[in-house]
Amino acid sequence: MKKILQNSIKGIVSPLVAVLLAFLVGALLMKAAGNNPIAAYASLFKGAFGSNHRIAETVVRAIPLIILALGISIAFKAQLWNIGGDGQFTVGAIFAVFVALTFPLSNAMLLPLTLIAAFIGGACWGGIAGFFKAKFNANEVITTLMLNYIALYLLEWLVKGPMMDPKGHGFPQTELINEGLRLPILLEGTRLHMGLFVALVLVMGVYMFWRTTLGFKTEVVGQSREVARYSGIKVNKIIIITMFISAGLAGLAGWTEVFGVHYRLLENVSGGFGNLAIVVALLANLNPWGIVVSGFFFAALVTGGNTMQRMEGVPFALVDVILGLTIIFVISRVVYRRWRDKQC
């Protein structure tokens, strides 16, 4: 018990230091730019937690973020650098909305179907990259990123073309999905929706996944492709399956966002959650429960970042700066470790 406690404290301290350092550099940047960093961070905090409504907004952002980060964590653990969360999210959302708007079924039948469609949509999009990695050794960082751009244009074409709402006065958006399909609101007067439970179930699911044979094989492939091969694991198959699951989760994140918040497809529906989710997953050291914590944290950063821009005139891009710095400090902690080991 004591050991578990010690380990979890160790697990919390180093990401916390990374985040604090990132915020410190962010403060210096604001200072140099002539802003008051304390006032800016105060407005950021207030924007994220200032009222029930603000807290609900933070949670609303945390939902897709946590699901995306869960997906990314699965790929990263297998040393597959899936950075295509945005594209997979988008294609998942497209598939789900297409199903919701096309098939004349009862809502009870349709809703699970849209969920499956979202998973398959995302999974296929990422599966392409996984397949190319396994078959042709094509660098998945580049292919998943390229697929992000392609998905973005695909969505733009759909909402301005074949899927555009005919009664939408030319707005680039699809029709609304019918009311029975929308995720119920949990808290009256806010946008907080049922997707929260979907996210928590998925956290549990990914936690269990690492305890299955497939999860174990995935981890072995991540530690060493050679070892995996020698122990009889079909590495290429695992690569494709891992990307499939990882991207499928991203598709589900798209589902929660569309069925819980927007109720339709819009341009740029993924809103850059992909990048954010990479940081969320890394900061949590790819641990599913850690992802919940860091997911809420970064959701607060984004929600508050908007307020900070409005109130203090600090550009929202500062949030991206903090994200980039956080990763840099997270991967730099080995230096500290090496230095500490030398002291002993």
């Binding site: 751009y149 392609i150 991206d320 840099i328």
Partner: protein, 314 residues
């Protein structure tokens, strides 16, 4: 429609456009050849390019001199890439994650600084970009002249840099050291080559080229800075490097293909071809994937590629 496409005028303008559009891919690719030859994968090119684009624009805007803009872009690219060098060489961090971090940081920082420096304005601040220079005699050659010899100075400079880089990599001691470090760092070390230093230099050379590539976007092609104006070119450049098998001359061909895709996209759109323009816009990205799957399997990566070197370990 087809008659409009099959005219000399259209083809000449298409090819000239392709040459121009290949530059912001070719420049970062050439730099990345140095970096990868030394065994480091720098996936942060995108972020470095954006910082370079901003540096180039700021320099040109405030001094009124495009060349100061270029110089500032190169310096910014070098400084920003030092972060990658520290992470990959000294800290021995995972290079993929470091590259992604650099891209996120560069994207955010360039947008942040642009907003801070210029505020929110109705009209975006602009400069007069580099003008096209027609090279006497050569530019009068039919077809070839307008395609190759009526560009701005940065385009010519790029092709000079390609030749210089090829010579440096192939015919100088430094080039030999770079390759040794990328193929067999232990052996290089035992011959007295400073592995860390060579890797630092190569990552920074990569940064200089990527910074220049960014400057081409903001002051050689457009006349302003736009958020995320590199639009994935940093990553496309990495694909070009693999396609080029780490040879600068072959990179020219690779970058030209992407330049052609971009130029074609613009011109077909202008002609009103009945293909949704989003499909045309996605063309370079689709092409990148196709190129990667066709060359990656056979690619002969430097042996020490992405492997951090640690003097203590044998």
């Amino acid at each position: 429609m087809l008659e409009q496409i099959l005219t000399t005028g259209f083809l000449v303008s298409l090819l000239a456009g392709a040459v121009r559009m290949s530059v912001p891919i070719l420049l970062p690719a050439i730099g990345e050849i140095f970096t990868q030859r030394a065994g480091i994968l720098n996936l942060g090119l995108e972020g470095i390019m954006l910082m370079g684009a901003l540096g180039g624009f700021v320099g040109a805007f405030f001094t009124g001199s495009l060349w100061i803009g270029v110089a500032l872009a190169v310096v910014v690219g070098m400084l920003f890439s030092v972060i990658m060098a520290v992470l990959s060489v000294t800290i021995r961090a995972d290079q993929v994650i470091a590259g992604v971090a650099l891209t996120i940081l560069g994207t955010g920082l360039s947008t942040f600084l642009f907003r801070v420096i210029f505020g929110i304005q109705k009209l975006p601040p602009a400069i007069e970009p580099f003008e096209a220079i027609s090279i006497p005699v050569l530019s009068n050659i039919p077809i070839l002249g307008p395609v190759l010899f009526q560009h701005n100075i940065l385009v010519y400079l790029t092709f000079i840099l390609v030749v210089l880089s090829a010579i440096v990599l192939k015919r100088t001691t430094f080039g030999l050291k770079v390759r040794a470090v990328g193929e067999h760092p232990q052996a290089a070390d035992s011959k007295g080559i400073n592995v860390y230093l060579i890797r630092y230099i190569c990552v920074v050379i990569g940064g200089a080229f990527a910074g220049l590539g960014g400057a081409f976007l903001s002051i050689g092609y457009m006349n302003t800075f736009l958020d995320q104006m590199s639009a994935g070119r940093g990553f496309i450049a990495v694909a070009v490097v693999i396609f080029a098998r780490w040879n600068p001359y072959r990179a020219v061909g690779g970058a030209f293909v992407f330049g052609l895709a971009s130029a074609l996209q613009l011109r077909l759109q202008a002609l009103g071809v009945p293909i949704p323009h989003q499909f045309l816009l996605a063309l370079p990205y689709v092409l990148t994937i196709l190129v990667l799957i066709s060359v990656s399997k056979k690619a002969d990566f430097p042996s020490a590629f992405t492997l951090p070197y640690n003097r203590g370990e044998r």
